[in-house]
């Protein structure tokens, strides 16, 4: 069942009404049935996988705890690991590794072909297997006592708000909540509904709208110019963010209405200052999972340098593979691993460079860092979204070829921008070194703004020249107005994210007058209804 389907819109109020109507003691039964129903609506047969995973980890957890000898504990842990990874491997990775091995066999003239498994990828398998794995590992480490109540444990594995696309919850957080008897809490329910609305807005108004353009360009590689690939990549960056964070918001809001507190999965990732910070803000439940169960057990950063780099790189490589059984995802993960390793290598140089260029002007330095991080993350998305590696390289090639094939006028504008930036930095440096009177300080400030004006002019002009260099229309949307709506909603999202980052917008909203708050809610609801794309487009992260 999709969150953005009528089926869910009917299903959820029924579950919530029943949840608050029945006695708290039996709520877990309702939620378990509801969760299994939620999953079975997609494919009823695959519930057997969730039940298998639940049974194995339930008993593994108890036996790990009961057993006194370390090697026996290890055996039960191994049983859990092998069965969960076995499920994941069979359904998600078998064909990928089979194809790769077949390719290698062919290269060496070995005429042996591994068979192909004709199975449907179970929705959310990567999420619930990782969630149950974290439980058995925690029990093994002695960080958690095993759950004896099978019903609570089964609900922990299959809890419908986060079953198919996370957040990947830890047993230490979610399992204790299964035992709690939540009362109807007005504030919590209200905030849950608001968070769901915001999630729906991101999903159906922004992500699904952008999907049309992105799919058109990325599924027809070879038919468009560099500018289309740039626009499609930028759109994809926002599509995947709004799609996945939208899902998380709906999941968290849904759970919150019923009293459950799910972990935050996104924290404005495109405002990160470096890639390391980006991963502290993007899919937090997964990155912390990899940190706690892979990176730290490998030794983390408390090892020799080369080993640290290896640990980082391998963690991101596997994170890439987690996202999908394809080389494009592996390259995407490797690229992020490379970013992080090179960030450590170049840390001192970058520090010196930053000091030399920006001096005490921290805001300019922050701004440039955000821009670079965004550029790196967006560049990596090309591999993530491309249908295959060949397409990804074709897209990159097209982007740069068109960039280098511009008329002289374009480069003159770029040179103009560069000169203005140098002048701006020079002015900054001068202001730092020379003691200035208040009047001179104001003059310098005015000078900076004056330099910004021609810079903006050059940037806009360069963009216009670049846009004109294609004969294919830029607006590929079926309904032309969608391009403008897409741009406006992206700008709105950026403004909201900046305000949230700087002034904690959601806290400020509390002090707004009631009519203003109501108006904002009505506006969001109206835009969901009027601007939303309600064609039940799958959430991107379902495929992982």
């Amino acid at each position: 069942m999709l969150f953005n389907s009528l089926e869910f819109i009917i299903y959820f109020p029924i579950v919530v009404a029943l949840y608050f109507a029945i006695t708290p003691r039996y709520r877990w039964i309702l939620l378990l049935i509801a969760s299994y129903y939620f999953y079975m609506c997609w494919n009823y047969k695959y519930i057997i996988l969730i039940i298998t995973s639940t049974l194995i980890d339930y008993f593994a957890g108890i036996h790990i705890y009961k057993t006194k000898t370390q090697w026996k504990k290890r055996i039960f842990l191994l049983l859990s690991l092998i069965s969960n990874f076995g499920l994941l491997f069979s359904f998600k990775y078998f064909n990928f590794f089979g194809d790769t091995l077949n390719f290698v066999f062919d290269k060496f003239n070995l005429f042996y072909h591994l068979p192909e498994l004709n199975v449907l990828l179970p929705v959310g398998i990567s999420f619930y297997t990782f969630q149950t794995l974290s439980y058995t590992i925690d029990v093994y480490r002695g960080e958690k006592e095993p759950e004896r109540h099978f019903g609570f444990f089964a609900l922990y594995v299959s809890f419908f708000p986060q079953l198919v696309a996370g957040p990947i919850e830890r047993s230490t957080r979610l399992l204790p909540q299964m035992r709690q008897h939540f009362k109807f809490d007005y504030e919590r329910v209200k905030n849950g509904i608001l968070q769901m609305c915001w999630g729906f807005f991101k999903k159906v108004v922004i992500a699904d709208r952008l999907a049309e353009y992105v799919n058109m360009v990325y599924n027809n590689t070879g038919s468009y110019d560099g500018i289309h690939y740039i626009i499609a990549t930028v759109f994809f960056a926002f599509q995947i963010y709004c799609d996945f964070s939208g899902y998380s918001d709906i999941a968290i809001g849904t759970a919150s209405i019923m009293g459950f507190d799910l972990m935050r999965n996104f924290r404005r990732p495109y405002l990160a200052h470096n890639i390391s910070e980006f991963w502290k803000r993007w899919h937090i439940s997964l990155s912390t999972w990899f940190r706690d169960y892979l990176y730290i057990p490998l030794g983390g950063n408390r090892v020799v340098k080369w080993r640290w780099y290896y640990n980082l790189f391998i963690t991101f490589l596997i994170s890439g593979l987690w996202h999908g059984a394809d080389w494009t995802f592996i390259i995407w993960g490797a690229l992020h691993g490379f970013y992080l390793v090179s960030a450590i290598w170049t840390l001192n140089i970058r520090k010196k460079f930053n000091n030399a260029i920006y001096g005490r002007n921290q805001s300019l330095s922050n701004f440039v860092q955000i821009i670079i991080t965004v550029f790196l993350a967006w560049f990596a998305w090309i591999f993530f979204r491309a249908n295959n590696i060949g397409n990804a390289f074709h897209i990159i090639n097209k982007i740069f070829t068109q960039l280098f094939a511009q008329p002289l006028e374009f480069y003159l504008h770029i040179a103009g921008i560069a000169i203005l930036i140098v002048a701006l930095i020079g002015l900054n440096k001068l202001a730092e070194r020379v003691k200035l009177t208040d009047t001179s300080k104001n003059l310098v400030k005015a000078g900076k703004w004056l330099l910004c004006l021609p810079a903006a002019y050059f940037i806009i002009n360069a963009c216009v020249i670049y846009l004109k260099s294609t004969s294919i229309p830029i607006n590929l949307f079926k309904f032309k107005s969608d391009l403008y709506i897409a741009i406006i909603t992206i700008v709105l999202l950026i403004i909201i994210e900046i305000l949230e980052e700087r002034i904690q917008l959601h806290n400020k909203l509390k002090y707004f007058a009631k009519p203003v708050k109501w108006m904002m809610l009505i506006l969001i609801l109206l835009s969901i209804v009027v601007l939303g794309k309600w064609e039940s487009i799958d959430f991107l992260y379902f495929q992982f």
Binding site: L6, P13, V16, A17, F20
Partner: protein
Amino acid sequence: MNEKLLKGLIYFSGIVCLYAFIAIRSLPLFNLVMNEKMVPYYWDKTRYGELYYFNFIKYFKEKGLPPAKEKFQFTNKQASLNEAKIITFGDSYFDFSRHKQFPERIADTLNVKVYFYHGDFPLVVFAKNKFKNKEPKILLYERVERYIPYAFEKENTPYFSVDTRSKLRKTFANIKDDIFYARTEELLDALLKRSIFTTGIYSFISKLKFDLFKYISPLTPVYCLGKERPWLFYYDQTNGEKTSFYYHHSDSEMNNICDNMADLAGKLKKEYNIRLIYLPLPAKYTLYHNVVNNDEYNNFLPRLYDGLTKRGVEFINVYEDLKNSGDILYYGTDGHWNEKGIRITLNKTLEYFKNDSTLGKYF
């Protein structure tokens, strides 16, 4: 106060949703809240033109469609395969419920027993019904042009799969189907758009979206708000697929279609003593695309006629008659023909029967 109100709202919406959840599984409860009732075999959603119902934008509401009639296929006038002198196969043009249906007209005009089957693959239908025939019969096989490429993409064979599941497994499957109802989304969508409580709101929002952003259903992407009437065209006639006005069928594709049509005619003659007469109909966009553009027709029907003539396959050519009639023969916001369109085709069919002296022995 706020808390009580919110809690009340949650319980209220829970009850409403529970009703919807049950209603899509129970026809009486479903019809209780619907503007237009669903009958067991089909949707009666053509009061304002079936294409209007994809949008609910009032500008595309076509008025003046006659009220729905009971379908010939489900009346006692429908003869059995054995009794019938004329067997008819066809799509929704033949049993368009807003007019007296084509097979019924043939039965009444010629005063013969007529069997109608909505769909394709006569050999499969005959095999399923264990139909064995010796006496001469006619099979009038209607298909609108957009369906022909798929209906005759492969050779027609009498093979079909038989459900060999045990009774217990079938019961289990039925229970499963009731719980995880496959048509949930479709029927909830119908409830949202057409229930007495929501249709007004839905229609208002659709109109607003059209006025502001020109949003229209992807199922009817080509439209025209003409002075005399609005026009909507179904997407499969206007996209790049095989069903479309724009798709250029290669010679080998055309030959394949014609070969399979000829093959079917041969098999029916040999195995059932049935004389097959095709009635290919032009799609709405083929006849009326000029209300939105002057694009060139892919000439599917003339090429099909040529191919069938070369193979000695019988067919009734109504394309030219419909095209040159000078009247509007199809509804603007429905995919089907109107009374005039039906009459022209019926007259042409009767004329065909009349002009062929060898047809006498069939009825």
